[in-house]
């Protein structure tokens, strides 16, 4: 994991030279008003419950706050960081919600995604305010819960930490884009068959998203292994090893 530490300054340096390229989120105005309101209503309880959980957990365990700082910022940066995929000739970004769901819990991860998407819609012309509910549902709710579920499944299947994390990152990424496709198909399919439109949109994401989801899986797995080596107590507190919280 020393190599990871050496790569951090390079990665931090790259953050200073970004290019304004937009990606995955549903752009402003694409969802009709009714669907925009619907997705806000669906996402709102998850955000509200997540805020409640964050408050409860930070009161019970002050070391939870730095974790929110790390993984909240990570989700924000990851989800507005376009990565070029040569095989597809286009760029897209990871979601980061699989990783945040493992460390913060899936509900808290929804809050982190909501705040990231709100900031991006307000200041970075990325996503949109009318599509904030839809984007929160796909990236926040679907990404976090699928990533968390995949990680737990990996542990149940006795996969090691890296592969459990890999599965979480990969699943969160692919399910997030499935959510985006699902919302678009549901709102816009019109007279065309819903499943056909859903399939077309989701398949169109795949050339970019398959390589990126593998990358996101590797990063998520790598970070969990790093935490295991340097602060295994954090994973014990998160009951990753199945032990009682200390």
């Amino acid at each position: 994991m020393k190599s990871l530490r050496h790569l951090l300054p390079l990665w931090a340096g790259l953050l200073l030279f970004p290019r304004p390229v937009f990606a995955m989120h549903i752009s402003e105005g694409i969802l009709p008003a009714g669907w925009a309101v619907f997705w806000f209503a669906v996402a709102a309880p998850f955000v509200a419950w997540g805020v409640r959980q964050i408050n409860r957990r930070k009161n019970a365990d002050p070391s939870y706050i730095p974790l929110i700082g790390i993984f909240g910022a990570a989700v924000f940066v990851f989800s507005c960081f376009p990565i070029p995929v040569p095989v597809a000739g286009s760029t897209a970004h990871p979601a980061g919600t699989g990783m945040s769901a493992i460390f913060l819990g899936p509900f808290a991860s929804v809050v982190v995604a909501f705040i990231s998407l709100l900031l991006q819609a307000l200041f970075l012309a990325h996503g949109g305010l009318t599509t904030l509910g839809g984007n929160t549902f796909s990236m926040g709710v679907m990404g976090s819960f699928s990533g968390y579920g995949a990680f737990r499944l990996g542990r149940l299947l006795h996969l090691n930490l890296f592969w459990s994390g890999f599965l979480a990152g990969l699943t969160a990424d692919l399910v997030t884009y499935f959510g985006t496709s699902f919302e678009m198909a549901l709102a816009l399919h019109g007279t065309q068959p819903f499943l056909s439109v859903l399939g077309q949109i989701y398949l169109a994401f795949m050339p970019t998203q398959i390589p990126l989801s593998l990358l996101e899986g590797a990063v998520t797995g790598g970070i969990i292994v790093y935490v295991q080596k340097h602060r295994p107590d954090i994973l014990r507190r998160l009951k990753v090893f199945g032990e009682a919280a200390s």
Binding site: F17, L119, A125, L188, G190
Partner: protein
């Protein structure tokens, strides 16, 4: 002379084609995001177009500045807490 004219004509043709291709490439940005290649493309095909953002920061280099600022602040926050947990926090636990 005839051969010379043919060669020049061929070269001019190639040059014109190259310029035309370059202009075409300028119109189509390289490395477009999947919002353009998938989300907006399919939305348009299904009769819905994206509208300008309510807070349109996509003006000149303003957006570049905001992305740099966001990346810098996000990177700083992440690095600050990373140090707190994995460097200072680790030392505290060892002591």
């Amino acid at each position: 002379m005839r051969r010379f004219l043919i060669v020049v004509s061929m070269l001019l043709l190639l040059l014109t084609a190259a310029v035309a291709t370059a202009q075409e490439e300028e119109k189509k940005p390289k490395w477009p995001g999947v919002d353009e290649t998938v989300v907006e493309k399919y939305a348009k095909e299904l009769g819905r177009e994206a509208r300008a953002p309510f807070f349109d920061t996509d003006q000149g280099d303003l957006l570049l500045f905001l992305f740099a600022l966001a990346g810098g602040i996000g990177g700083f926050v992440m690095g600050y807490y990373w140090h707190k947990v994995f460097v200072a926090g680790k030392k505290d636990r060892e002591e």
